[in-house]
């Protein structure tokens, strides 16, 4: 079996909220004990509701937030709370595509500079080579050569996202984190970007972590899927298992909630979650999902369910993982 490109071990990122004077300091457990692997060339879909910690997890992997606990292993390099990453080496291994194509490009830099500067920074001295790689990357993401000297404001949202993808790929990373890469784009543009990401994956042998709340997109692109709820992974497995045989009640609720005109009432109303998402500041005891869970029992309140296998490569964190089907 291939060595994992990325392996998270019990990763936690906590934030201190408030100040000592007014009301005291509270701990917000944005990510709380996540264990995950991503293999080379694989696409891991990461889904979960707003505020469940997906972006925080991504930033920690990128080395932009120090982990409170646990370790991140990236291509043989280890990051932990006490050990900061070698940023230059990290940069050539992991890159990121951001959600907002408007805020993620420097308004004062042309496309050429946005792409060429990182190359020079990473030691590509030969002018002709820099130019060739910039042009090659622009062509790969579907931008025309004459657009190289334009500024971001001259591009549409979809084109900007192409520039953002080009910037992420220019250093030839092995893993690319895509944090909601299409949700800020016009609906009719999204397919272009999803297709592009998939083409580049095949062409360059990239691994992705695809963060999205659009389950249709996640099913389409992922090889494996991890479902997060309030800072923890509640279910993880191959895309087909997750979508066809979800074992965690939250995953089922998520799938049931998708307004899909082709599958009206495909999953019974019983699967639907009731009530509001709890706040990450004071999550409910035991299973975080219990206030909304249709299968809740006493044990769910008193005891944390562990993420355990239900089948080969398919794990769920629910006391009744074997009964849900």
């Amino acid at each position: 079996m291939a060595e994992p490109l990325l392996s998270l071990d019990d990763l936690a990122v906590h934030f201190k909220i408030g100040n000592a004077l007014g009301g005291g300091i509270k701990t917000l457990k944005a990510v709380d004990g996540v264990t995950l692997d991503v293999k080379p060339g694989e696409c891991l879909g990461l889904v979960g509701e707003s505020g469940c910690g997906k972006s925080t997890l991504a930033l920690a992997i990128m080395g932009l937030l120090p982990p409170t606990r646990g370790t991140i292993g990236v291509d043989g390099q280890e990051i932990s709370g006490s050990k900061a990453p070698d940023r230059m080496r990290m940069a050539r291994t992991v890159q990121m595509v951001f959600q907002d194509p408007y805020a993620s490009l420097n308004p004062r830099q042309t496309v050429r500079r946005t792409l060429a500067d990182p190359l020079r920074l990473h030691g590509v001295r030969d002018k002709a080579e820099v130019e060739a790689r910039v042009m090659d990357m622009m062509a790969k993401v579907g931008l025309r050569p004459e657009q190289a000297d334009r500024y971001p404001h001259e591009f549409s949202g979809g084109q900007r996202q192409r520039i953002g993808i080009a910037r992420a790929l220019i250093l030839k990373p092995k893993l690319v984190l895509c944090d909601e890469p299409v949700s800020a784009l016009d609906v009719s543009i999204r397919a272009q970007i999803i297709n592009l990401l998939l083409e580049l994956k095949d062409e360059l042998g990239l691994a992705y972590i695809m963060i999205s709340h659009d389950l249709g997109v996640v099913e389409h692109v992922s090889d494996r899927v991890a479902v997060m709820y309030l800072g923890r992974i509640v279910e993880q497995g191959g895309w087909q298992e997750i979508f066809e045989n979800p074992r965690h009640p939250y995953t089922r609720a998520l799938i049931a909630a998708i307004p899909d005109p082709f599958h009206r009432a495909a999953i019974s109303a019983k699967a639907k979650a009731r009530g509001e998402i709890a706040s990450a500041l004071n999550p409910p005891p035991g299973c975080h999902f219990h206030p909304r869970c249709p299968l809740k029992a006493d044990i769910c309140v008193s005891q944390d369910p562990v993420l355990a296998a239900v089948a080969e490569g398919h794990r769920a964190a629910c006391h009744f993982r074997d009964r849900v089907s």
């Binding site: 930033l59 932009l64 951001f98 990182p118 920074l121 953002g164 910037r167």
Partner: protein, 284 residues
């Protein structure tokens, strides 16, 4: 009635204030640059007590002073000193303020606390008082004047730079630069600084006006440029005693200061409207 409606709209476009301000400042700069050619006499050496205190007229357009020197020529040469003091001290202030503000905003932590504390301290004490203290230590003269003014009003650009960095820090492109392996200083100077130059230029322009006023005040108090060298402040200082008998001695340097400072302020305002369009609402 129609002008009442039109004027603010022009101002919003940076039109009037930019042009009037730019014109006034350009005049002062031209005077400074072309001084040797447009001055009628030497501003220091051509003293002639025979010509003392001649009122403005054909031969001496702005009159002469107690030593018989041509005031027009002294004002033209004085522009060199006043503007240099304004420009150089503002460059110092901007360098200090921007460096501190950028690093404080970007790094945060104890460094930010320290810089913010220092900034607040500087804002609490009028910068002129600070400058006075420094001048008292260094003694009068052009160099110490520039040092005094260049060290004492960086708090504005520091505050602006810090606030802007804080809002830009979480922008995708700054994060992307970190992910690409850019060092902190490189990020500050290539990603952040170019995007906050607008407001900083505005602050520096406005600050230049302040520095020229401070120069005048310090020189007036005898701490700045010392006679016989012509700075607008020292000319005012010299004219103190003749304010009733020979008012032109103080009126013309006063007008020079007034129009230059006004010009810089209008220019700053106009630039703000162009460079930082959001501020028009904030200012109201």
């Amino acid at each position: 009635m129609s002008t009442a409606i039109k004027l603010p709209r022009l101002r919003l476009k940076g039109g009037t204030s930019l042009w009037i301000g730019g014109g006034l400042v350009a005049t002062a700069v031209m005077a400074a640059v072309l001084a040797p050619w447009i001055a009628l006499t030497d501003p220091v050496m051509d003293a002639n007590l025979m010509n003392a205190e001649i009122p403005p007229g054909l031969e001496y357009p702005f009159g002469t002073d107690a030593q018989g020197r041509d005031i027009y020529s002294r004002i033209v040469y004085g522009a060199r000193i006043s503007l240099s003091v304004g420009i150089i001290s503002q460059i110092c202030n901007s360098l200090i303020g921007v460096t501190l503000g950028l690093t404080a905003g970007y790094w945060g932590g104890w460094w930010d606390d320290l810089v913010s504390g220092l900034t607040n301290l500087m804002l609490a004490i009028p910068s002129l008082v600070f400058a006075l203290a420094i001048m008292a230590i260094l003694g009068p003269g052009l160099v110490s004047l520039v040092i005094a003014l260049g060290l004492t009003s960086w708090s504005y650009s520091c505050r602006i730079a810090r606030a802007q960095v804080l809002s830009l820090k979480s922008q995708g492109y700054v994060q992307a630069a970190r992910i690409l392996g850019y060092g902190d200083l490189r990020i500050m100077f290539t990603q952040v600084l170019p995007n906050i130059l607008g407001p900083l230029i505005v602050i520096a322009t406005l600050g230049m006006g302040g520095a020229i006023l401070s120069e005048a005040a310090l020189s007036f108090l005898g701490l700045g440029i010392r006679p016989p060298f012509p700075s607008w402040g020292s000319m005012l200082s010299e004219a103190r005693d003749q304010i009733t008998t020979a008012p032109w001695l103080s009126v013309f340097p006063g007008l020079a200061i007034f129009f230059t400072v006004l010009g810089l302020n209008l220019l700053g305002d106009g630039l703000r409207d162009i460079l930082d369009p959001q501020s028009t609402t904030r200012r109201a």
